[in-house]
Symmetry: C2
Subunit: 252 residues, 2 copies
Amino acid sequence: MTELIAPSSSASSGTNAAVTCTNCNLDNLCIPKGLVREEIDELTLLVNRNNIRQKGEPIYHAGGSFKGIIALRSGSAKLVTLDSNGNELIVDFIFPGELLGFDGLASQVHSCSAIALETVNFCHLPAQKVEQLAANTPGFSNVLLQRSCDQYESQVENMMLSRRTADERVACFILRISERLRVRGYSELEFRLTMSREEMGNHLGIAHETISRIIRNFQDRNLIEVKSKQLKITNKKELFNFYTSYSLNSPK
Amino acid sequence: MTELIAPSSSASSGTNAAVTCTNCNLDNLCIPKGLVREEIDELTLLVNRNNIRQKGEPIYHAGGSFKGIIALRSGSAKLVTLDSNGNELIVDFIFPGELLGFDGLASQVHSCSAIALETVNFCHLPAQKVEQLAANTPGFSNVLLQRSCDQYESQVENMMLSRRTADERVACFILRISERLRVRGYSELEFRLTMSREEMGNHLGIAHETISRIIRNFQDRNLIEVKSKQLKITNKKELFNFYTSYSLNSPK
DNA sequence: CGACGCTTTGAGGAGATTCAAGACACGTGG
DNA sequence: CCACGTGTCTTGAATCTCCTCAAAGCGTCG
């Protein structure tokens, strides 16, 4: 099996040599969030920057040994695993500033694969540096623990979502992506859905045909405008109401 | 609001004064798993033992400040949260040797309530001792991180389960409980379901009427025998096949 | 321009829910 | 000890949501 994560020497061209964890525009989202200045300086020295993958290429593989922590700088990715029948299950989609790799931290073996949905650029903190930092930098273990515990929340949210109707799930999905992009400085009302309908449906537990029908329905209600993968939210408030209370009282 | 977790002085009667984390029969499941001898000795000194709750009583409350880590010694509990419409959602059921409290570790505020399903006895590591141990005991932060990352796995498992049919979910639910009890030294084939059908359905995302119908169906197929809450697995292999491959090829 | 994959749309059917009613279990008080 | 009441569990019938299968439209890339 080929080495999936290239050493920084081969990947980091001179184009962006001045970027460090201190002056990175994602420092309020990525690992540095929660660290003090000296800790960030230490982190800066250990991170491999400017790793690139094209659409469809893996960042790491399920079953492979723990590769360390990945921070996505640009682009988007999907985190997938295989269920017991060998079917792909998309656990999450990943956006800039978000961390990857926790699926291998406890057992030292990745239970998921991370696959680029478009061209991605990411930073890589290798496994042995993770251990080194965790041992020497108290703030760092806290950050890891913090992020890892956050997944409890996300587990609960996913559970709640799986109880709702297909319409509510799609509305919620769109709004969550909107919010995640907003926090990262992108437009919250107009963006590209980088995943296919199939992938969306896989993640939400809905047939892709149903996804299509629901998106059409949302357009007919003037909640959104969709042109292939390009999406524009035209009535955010109504879209939000739709997914919180539609099933309770709203007429057809 | 009353203090939910009593200090050990009031709760620990003299009946079991000799129990420590070292000689506890759950030491291969609870926090000590992964710690070396001296670390366990240190832990022993900080834990409040023999806390009791009766059926229906809370161990801690959603919305309350982080109370520390709880280790269940006997009995069973449910971990519940409220969805955005105010409905109860049962995130998990808890058995002896399992840890509780991670839902408050990151944010310092519990997002879930832990409620006893029957009389429970638990150990309590108070919040400030958690911090103290995390700072001074490298093994301890690792244990926390480890357990917390394990929840990634469980999130993925839950996601997979939510894609299966109601029958498969119930079969899987029974088998998982069986396995969790087996590991803890209880009978794996005959046990009491301490939760109601309603609670089971809530956790699995199935109406309680459907739970009843499926349990009847399993009985008719001679996979299990059920008398109210008492359950006996009579054909474990078939029950297992049922949930792994039923939907693929098996006739009615 | 043609082939391929992705998306959309329609029709029919399966699985699970909801509503309604009856059976059973458990605890209380007579 | 039994009658009674409450809450839980079971069962049935009607309904609905979403899936599956099938086919046609659209876009993209060689």
